[in-house]
């Protein structure tokens, strides 16, 4: 499935996940977590072949407009309404190495903060030209980019008056199933970030800031779209140099 079959395969186990850097499972300020959080300790296991391997996706799965949310659901000749932006960045691992061939899937509300989903109840209108999903695969240098409209903030049923800051959801496949990650990107300068009970499930302010994309003026396209840069870091692998060879190698 890989477009990168000439690359040296990676077979090391992944670094231990720093669970203190992530949100704990139980975060009562985010009410849904109360009944959906495991209460017993996780069973720790150094990665086996079942976790250091993972599916890899080739560019052949991508359609021409997959990385263009302004147009991929729009009628011919039309486009989604909203602030036009480019989101770009690199997928790296904890060693700072680019993760090539990573599949990113992203989804978001429209410019008014409304999702195209049957369970969505917010009164903001749908945009007939905006679906809200896209995907991209990173290049050799780990880079990706897509075009979209800036999503609007929206209210959600948690506290009486809780709102999500503008955000884009990301799902990322690296090279091993243990790297599987879903996260969210926020926008520089949004005061609502710090009021959000989902953002603040993350205990460390520096960790939250890792999810805030800066306005990237240098990459803004004049008279067209502003740019935001969002780098994503996946778990790194140990070197395999001095590890036991697995049976059958």
């Amino acid at each position: 499935m890989s477009d990168f079959s000439n690359q040296k395969p990676e077979t090391g186990a992944f670094f231990q996940r720093d669970r203190a850097w992530h949100a704990p499972a139980l975060t009562p300020g985010y009410k849904t977590s109360v009944l959906r959080s495991p209460q017993k300790a996780l069973l720790s296991l150094d990665g086996t072949i079942s976790e250091i391997t993972g599916p890899v996706f080739g560019h052949s799965i991508l359609g021409e407009l997959d990385n263009d949310l302004i147009h991929n659901f729009a009628k011919p000749g039309e486009s989604a309404i909203g602030e036009r932006i480019i989101v770009h960045g690199r997928v790296l691992d904890e060693r700072g190495q680019p993760v090539r061939g990573a599949l990113l899937e992203f989804w978001q509300a429209n410019a008014g903060g409304r999702y195209r989903h049957k369970k969505e109840t917010y009164l903001a209108p749908l945009d007939p030209n905006f679906g809200g999903c896209g995907r991209a695969i990173t290049g050799e240098d780990g880079s990706y980019r897509f075009r979209t409209v800036k999503p609007g903030p929206y209210p959600w049923p948690n506290g009486v008056n809780d709102w999500r800051p503008a955000h884009i959801h990301f799902s990322i496949f690296g090279h091993g199933f243990a790297q599987r990650l879903i996260t969210q990107m926020y926008f520089e300068g949004d005061p609502m970030i710090w009021k959000c009970p989902i953002v603040t499930t993350i205990p460390d302010r520096n960790a939250i800031e890792q999810l805030i994309a800066p306005l990237d003026w240098a990459n803004t396209i004049p008279m067209d779209a502003r740019a935001y840069k969002f780098d994503i870091v996946l778990r790194g692998r140990r070197s395999t140099l001095f590890e036991n060879r697995m049976e059958g190698n």
Binding site: S5, P9, T11, D18, R19, W21, H22, A25, Y30, S33, L35, R36, S37, P38, L43, S44, L45, T48, I49, S50, T53, G54, P55, F57, I61, G63, L65, L92, E94, E105, W107, H117, K118, G131, G132, C133, H169, S171, G176, F177, A178, R180, L181, I182, Q184, I198, T201, I202, N206, A207, I208, Q210, V233, L234, G236, E243, N244, M246, E247, N249
Partner: protein, 204 residues
């Protein structure tokens, strides 16, 4: 002061939220015309080697209710125990088997279903063999970081008895939370997020 090791921190996880299906299975969510098909819906074709099985189950919350907005992904070896991954160096996996599946839990009854094959045994690091198993990853609204677990097969009692991961489970009655009973070609794997039957989740 010493030199900086220079490692980066992993991007913190955030919940997949209630609309994960828009991004990961848009056709299922009713957003058609963007992708031809949803990824991960088909794992096998008519040339896939191995015994055809169905894996079915629910993800159940602490009040006993199945999650109707979850996304479940599985990853497994082929019938010979090989993974369809560039990191698999022991041989070439069955090209007619992806090894990876993705299924939203149903909005009606919360059931997920995978049509797949029974995996072969893969090695543990020390040369022992692991029992056949399927790796699971579960995300949903209210789950702050994706949950990893494994499903084992009830009709593999002998292999399960020597499996290195199952052997690590201190409270032996919890082993059963990872072992799916079989009826015909269907294995049922209910995942309990909390309570007496809480599934053993993994930090891997």
């Amino acid at each position: 002061m010493v030199q900086d090791l220079g490692y980066l921190k992993e991007s913190p996880s955030q919940t997949a939220g209630p609309y994960v299906h828009i991004g990961c299975t848009p056709n299922f969510a009713g957003i058609t015309g963007v992708y031809d098909t949803d990824l991960g819906t088909v794992m096998v074709n008519d040339r896939t080697l191995g015994e055809r099985i169905t894996v079915r189950g629910r993800v159940i919350d602490g009040a006993g209710a199945p999650l109707k907005d979850a996304l479940v992904e599985i990853w497994q070896a082929d019938a010979a125990g090989l993974y369809n991954s560039p990191s698999e160096l022991r041989g070439t996996a069955d090209p007619n088997f992806t090894g990876w599946g993705r299924c939203p839990t149903s909005a009606d009854d919360g059931i997920f279903t995978f049509e797949t094959i029974k995996p072969g045994r893969a090695p543990y690091k020390d040369g022992r063999r692991m029992a056949p198993h399927i790796t699971f990853w579960i995300v949903a609204r209210g789950i702050n970081i994706g949950l990893h677990t494994r499903m084992y097969f009830a009709d593999e009692a002998e292999a399960n008895a020597e499996d290195p991961l199952l052997a690590r489970i201190e409270h032996r009655h919890r082993v059963a939370t990872l072992v799916a009973p079989r009826e015909g070609s269907v294995y049922t794997f209910d995942i309990h997020l909390q309570g007496d039957k809480e599934t053993v989740f993994l930090d891997i």
